[in-house]
């Protein structure tokens, strides 16, 4: 039984989570300014255009910042401590919150290259996590 918080899907996020179930990471891409963003929005947060499309991300990037959680975000995460929570900047430019999957939390560094790893935490939800490459 998976006891950690799960995303509550909504009409805007449904395609994002559906793609993750198929192990594809999607970003919203703006045809007007050619920039990608995450999380998916109705208007581009960079240029405010509504001319947006879904694009599949390469799934690679670098660690923008991170922390090692020595205390858990609630009881469900207790068994995982210490674990790494990070902001990864994808090569497409968008930033996302994730975990760095590693046996050695002390080895994690800012600017480290990482690649996506899909974690099927329930039959309905796949979380994108990242591992050092």
């Amino acid at each position: 039984m998976y006891e950690k918080p799960l995303p509550v899907l909504d009409p805007e996020s449904q395609p994002y989570w559906d793609a993750l179930k198929q192990h594809r990471l999607l970003l919203k891409h703006c045809r007007a300014c050619q920039r990608s963003h995450h999380y998916p929005r109705e208007l581009c947060p960079h240029c405010h255009s509504d001319d947006l499309e879904w694009k599949q991300a390469a799934g690679t990037g670098r660690i923008y910042s991170y922390t090692v959680a020595r205390r858990p975000a609630g009881p469900a995460f207790k068994a995982d401590t210490p674990y790494v929570v990070a902001l990864v900047e994808l090569d497409e430019g968008a930033r996302l919150m994730t975990n760095i999957v590693t046996a050695d939390v002390e080895s994690v560094r800012i600017d480290q290259r990482v690649a996506v790893q899909f974690d099927d935490v329930t039959p309905d939800v796949t979380l994108p996590k990242f591992r050092p490459v």
């Binding site: 950690k4 918080p5 799960l6 995303p7 509550v8 899907l9 909504d10 996020s13 995450h38 999380y39 947060p45 923008y64 910042s65 991170y66 922390t67 090692v68 959680a69 020595r70 205390r71 858990p72 975000a73 609630g74 469900a76 995460f77 995982d80 674990y83 929570v85 990070a86 902001l87 930033r95 996302l96 919150m97 994730t98 975990n99 800012i110 600017d111 935490v121 939800v125 979380l127 996590k129």
Partner: protein, 389 residues
């Protein structure tokens, strides 16, 4: 007609013992007592109040969702100016700004600001993330200890870009403790060294337990009116000379730059511009200290030092008693008390300094004070510049 000038004329906070209320009270009682005492301090009564500004984290879901409705009912008033904008810890600095604007525009004569929290008595705080809906569905599932993990990531990035160290951060905790040692009302009054901060448990790298604020109960109230009205009451007013506010993000991935408080930059710039003074004119500062890194980032954002130079700015106990930059003179959220939203308590301490009521911790010749609140996770910022004249 002479321009109406908004002033703070009454303040009060409720007494705590070891961070808890000294008697068992609900959050509405806490605010009623603070309101009563602040109005008494002003020489006014509840029937004079025609502006009500409040927000908090109590009664949600329930009557706290629309706090001014509940409080107006509870107090038995029908205000003609109301504001319950919730931007977290910066809300009360923004409320002083909004109340000042309303008073000067003639929309109200006496504004009452109240805050209360019983979070310590209720043991209601933990590090769990926010409900995983809407924008938070993209963050909460990964288990960031909340909110400390967000501040930790900002600290980590600042260290990476500028060479800031854990020693720099600990300097802030140590200096703040020295102020608390001068304040009989502070919760943590024992001696503290940089080594003690390092020896405290790591919570979320690079932040130790002693880089984090206390979790306490608390209640406070502020009464504002016009300078003319304050004079008629025979009270020494504290003038509101400048203010500004902004907010940028809620999720951490959307914070534009983790080393930079864009909201504080905007708020501070507006406040200094309105006050028409420079940084040298600030005699004492009260800057939101949810975590040590919050202070360092805010000092840079407000322009007290250049970006990346916050570490040097706080080194050698420059912000401690006797230092060149008196900061968080009550002992702040780190060592005095932190009742969930610190903003109103920073304002109360600034007013006490400007009135010369601070006893052993009184900053000599404190004429002008800067107060800056931070809310969310480095998300919102609001600045007030207050003065004696």
């Amino acid at each position: 007609m002479k321009k109406r000038e908004a002033v703070i004329v009454g303040i009060a906070d409720v007494p705590l013992q070891d961070g808890k209320l000294t008697e068992s009270l609900c959050v509405l009682q806490v605010q009623a007592r603070a309101a009563r005492d602040a109005l008494r301090d002003a020489g006014l009564s509840m029937r004079d109040v025609d502006g009500l500004l409040s927000t908090g984290m109590w009664g949600v879901p329930g009557p706290g969702q629309m706090p001014t409705l509940t409080l107006a009912e509870y107090f038995g008033i029908a205000p003609r100016f109301i504001d319950s904008t919730n931007i977290g810890g910066a809300a009360f600095e923004a409320f002083v700004a909004h109340a000042a604007t309303a008073i000067e525009a003639g929309r109200c004569e006496v504004a009452l600001l109240t805050y209360g929290s019983t979070q310590k008595s209720e043991k209601s705080r933990n590090l769990a993330g926010r409900p995983s809906v809407l924008t938070m569905q993209y963050e909460t599932p990964w288990g960031m200890p909340t909110p400390v993990g967000g501040y930790a990531m900002a600290a980590m990035r600042h260290m990476h870009e500028y060479g800031t160290t854990s020693t720099h951060l600990a300097e802030i905790a140590v200096a703040t403790r020295k102020w608390a040692q001068l304040n009989p009302a502070a919760m943590m009054r024992g001696p503290l060294t940089i080594e003690d901060v390092f020896a405290s448990p790591m919570i979320s790298d690079p932040l130790h337990l002693l880089d984090a604020c206390l979790v306490t109960d608390g209640g406070g109230a502020i009464v504002m009116t016009t300078a003319e009205h304050a004079k008629a009451l025979g009270r020494a007013p504290v003038y509101v000379r400048g203010y500004g506010e902004s907010n940028t993000h809620w999720t951490m991935a959307a914070m534009p730059d983790l080393t930079r408080l864009t909201a504080a930059e905007i708020a501070g710039r507006e406040a200094f511009r309105m006050a028409g003074i420079g940084h040298d004119a600030i005699d004492v500062a009260q800057i939101y200290d949810s975590f040590t890194i919050t202070v360092l980032l805010t000092l840079e954002a407000l322009g007290f030092c250049k970006r990346g130079e916050g570490g040097a700015f706080v080194s050698s106990q420059r912000t401690a008693p006797g230092g060149v930059f008196p900061l968080n003179t009550s002992g702040g959220g780190l060592s005095c008390a932190h009742a969930g939203m610190l903003g109103i308590f920073l304002l109360i301490e600034a007013v006490r300094q400007l009135r010369g009521e601070c006893g052993e911790r009184q900053v000599q010749n404190a004429r002008t004070a800067l107060v800056h609140g931070t809310g969310g996770t480095l998300s919102s910022g609001a600045t007030c510049i207050l003065s004696q004249s």
